[in-house]
Amino acid sequence: MSEVAIDREIDRSKLQVSDEVAIEITMMNKWYGDFHVLRDISLTVNRGERIVVCGPSGSGKSTLIRCINRLEEHQKGTIVVDGIELSSDLKNIDKIRSEVGMCFQHFNLFPHLSVLDNCTLAPIWVRKEPRKEAEDRAMHYLERVKIADQALKFPGQLSGGQQQRVAIARSLCMNPRIMLFDEPTSALDPEMIKEVLDVMVDLAETGMTMICVTHEMGFARQVANRVIFMDQGQIIEQNEPEEFFNNPQSDRTKLFLSQILSH
């Protein structure tokens, strides 16, 4: 869809991919009732990778990343996150969830809590950190997403872009090793998309492992090291961004790219 330019130098030297495996998905399948949403998904993500997942609506891309922190349950195959296999064991699930941050399309901030309390809630209640320590770190991350001056406001008083930045800070407060983004800019006005993308670029430069479902092809070109195209529950094509955009192999990819890049 839109291609917001990231008009700053990205320090490519910081974008290092290590050999360590962060996420390993093997032959994963999922059904909603009779509907086969995810088909034989296999994907290995190394630490430090920035992966953009794209595809037409209903292709299963959101479902895929929601399986990684078990917001959705898969029925076949394995998902191993940080060496822990996702099974129905609740302890494993909570452990993985506290290590994997997630940002949603509609931010999903807690409207009854202030921005600061949104950020400190999980560290205090899940990690049992002292309040002071949690608040200090929350302020640090709010500073980093440039919204520290709004810390005492409630989410309802912020713009969409500001809310999404708070949501990113909230996830970071748990010191996640992996961040999942589920269409983080799709609900935003054009002028707010950029402020969120800037924060995501910053995050990439810290070496964070990121999987982003997004239609921001500018972000994919400049930040991602791999682009995955999905259609009808399958991974159709994956490649480095340069190759992916300039030399798509499959017809479906070509069609998709022609549709989203034509305007």
Binding site: R97, G101, P111, A122, V126, Q157, M174
Partner: protein, 428 residues
């Protein structure tokens, strides 16, 4: 007009200016809301006429021509033609206490004021948190004050809770929480069934601290309404939350249990349940256990209201966007923490009007206990109206009861509005 179609560039900022006096101020309000059109003007005048007629009838009746000093209705009528308030003056203590012994009436009064103190920290954030200990102990204190008897009975009941918590702690040091809950519950039930009596007997023989016993049959009037209403409200709220969560649970057994309970209780009239409480329940209880009738009624009213409460709260839970549940999950909060910190605060806030609605309904339903012979304010009416002196008096008595209920119900309504305003956090 033609100018506005030409290409145009703003030459500068237009400074903000105050609105014209025709859109702000009391006169503008009156004009806009009361006399904005001919039909509205007619309606306004008609409304004013109705209000005037009502006041013109009520004020002389209640304040000017009313009779405070008389010994019977005919006496009243011979003095003046207004309200015969002498009956209220003569009987108001009965309306408040029922037949509670006169020399012991300081006990309900003390309980009432302690209740205000105990409820304050729950209702208002500004009250010191330490008062909550009193709130926790209040049911036992109030029970002892109102019914009297030895102090060791209520102490024993509270002690049961302490024992249950200790048992839970001890068990969970080695075993999982579920075993702890079952063990704690078992200790509680066993202690309440057998332990309390022994404890009570033993300590009473050593140190006999007690108040004169007041039978339930003596308790009546607004005192009884408040006992049933306040206990019902305090009990049905947590029970309703538990049932609402149970009905949305993924655990089939808990879900089925909650659903059956809610549907059964909601499907039966309250009066039926009250009759069960007053007569049938004795058949189901082990022989020899005497279960106070007021206590039985309180339990039934609580169960009845909790079913409604559960559905109101379930509505609030369903109204929350799915994203809130997901965000809480994604941060690694477990079920209880996400309910307590994220879901319930929001769901309960959404449900405030419905919850208060249920509370008010419950409080007014307490007058139904008169059908099983308890002397709530309506039950008190009958002996008064059967009295030769006051035979035929209606308006004054029902009006008096209505005012009492109105004060409490209106208070609850205002409080709920205050709470909604307080919990308002922006337009999100």
């Amino acid at each position: 007009m033609s100018d506005s179609r030409k290409p145009f560039v703003a030459s500068g900022d237009i400074p903000p200016s105050p609105p014209p006096s025709s859109v702000v101020g009391p006169i503008a309000w009156v004009r806009a809301n009361l006399f904005s059109s001919i039909s509205n003007t007619v309606m306004t005048l008609f409304g004013v006429f109705i209000i005037y007629s009502l006041l013109a009838a009520v004020i002389p009746w209640l304040f000017i021509d009313s009779v405070w000093n008389a010994t019977s209705l005919s006496d009243c009528r011979s003095i003046d033609n207004g309200a015969c308030l002498a009956v209220i003056k003569e009987r108001y203590l009965q309306f408040i206490y029922g037949f509670y012994p006169e020399e012991e009436r300081w006990r309900p009064i003390l309980s009432f004021f302690l209740m205000i103190v105990a409820v304050a920290p729950i209702l208002f954030a500004g009250v010191p948190r330490r008062v909550l200990y009193l709130s926790g102990l209040y049911p036992a204190i109030a029970y002892w004050l109102i019914w009297g008897g030895t102090i060791w009975g209520p102490v024993g009941v509270v002690l049961g809770l302490v024992l249950a918590v200790v048992a839970y702690r001890l068990i969970t040091t080695t075993l999982p929480a579920v075993v702890g809950l079952i063990g704690g519950g078992l200790v509680l039930v066993l202690w309440w069934l057998f332990g309390v009596e022994i404890f009570d007997g033993a300590l009473t023989s050593v140190v006999d601290i007690g108040l004169p016993v007041v039978e339930s049959s003596k308790i009546g009037g607004f005192l009884l309404s408040l006992i049933i209403g306040v206990s019902g409200i305090a009990g049905s709220f947590p029970l309703g939350i538990a049932l609402a969560l149970g009905r949305r649970s993924n655990l089939l057994f808990i879900k089925a249990l909650s659903t059956c309970f809610i549907e059964f209780i909601r499907g039966v009239p309250l009066i039926t349940l009250l009759f069960v409480a007053s007569t049938l329940l004795n058949y189901f209880l082990p022989p020899g256990t005497s279960f106070d009738v007021v206590l039985r009624v309180v339990i039934m009213v609580t169960l009845f209201a909790s079913a409604y409460m559960a559905e109101v709260i379930r509505g609030g839970l369903a109204a929350l966007p799915k994203g809130q549940y997901e965000a809480a999950d994604a941060l690694g909060l477990d079920y209880w923490k996400s309910m307590r910190l994220i879901i319930l605060p929001q769901a309960l806030k959404i449900s405030i009007p419905g919850i208060v609605n249920t509370f008010i309904g419950l409080f007014k339903d307490t007058v139904l206990v008169s059908v099983i012979g308890l002397l709530d304010p309506v039950g008190i009416l009958n002996p008064i109206r059967a009295d030769q002196n006051w035979n035929g008096i209606v308006w004054e008595l029902y009006g008096f009861i209505s005012i009492f209920f109105f004060i409490f119900c209106f208070g609850m309504s205002r409080y709920s509005q205050y709470l909604e305003r307080k919990l308002q956090t922006g337009h999100g």
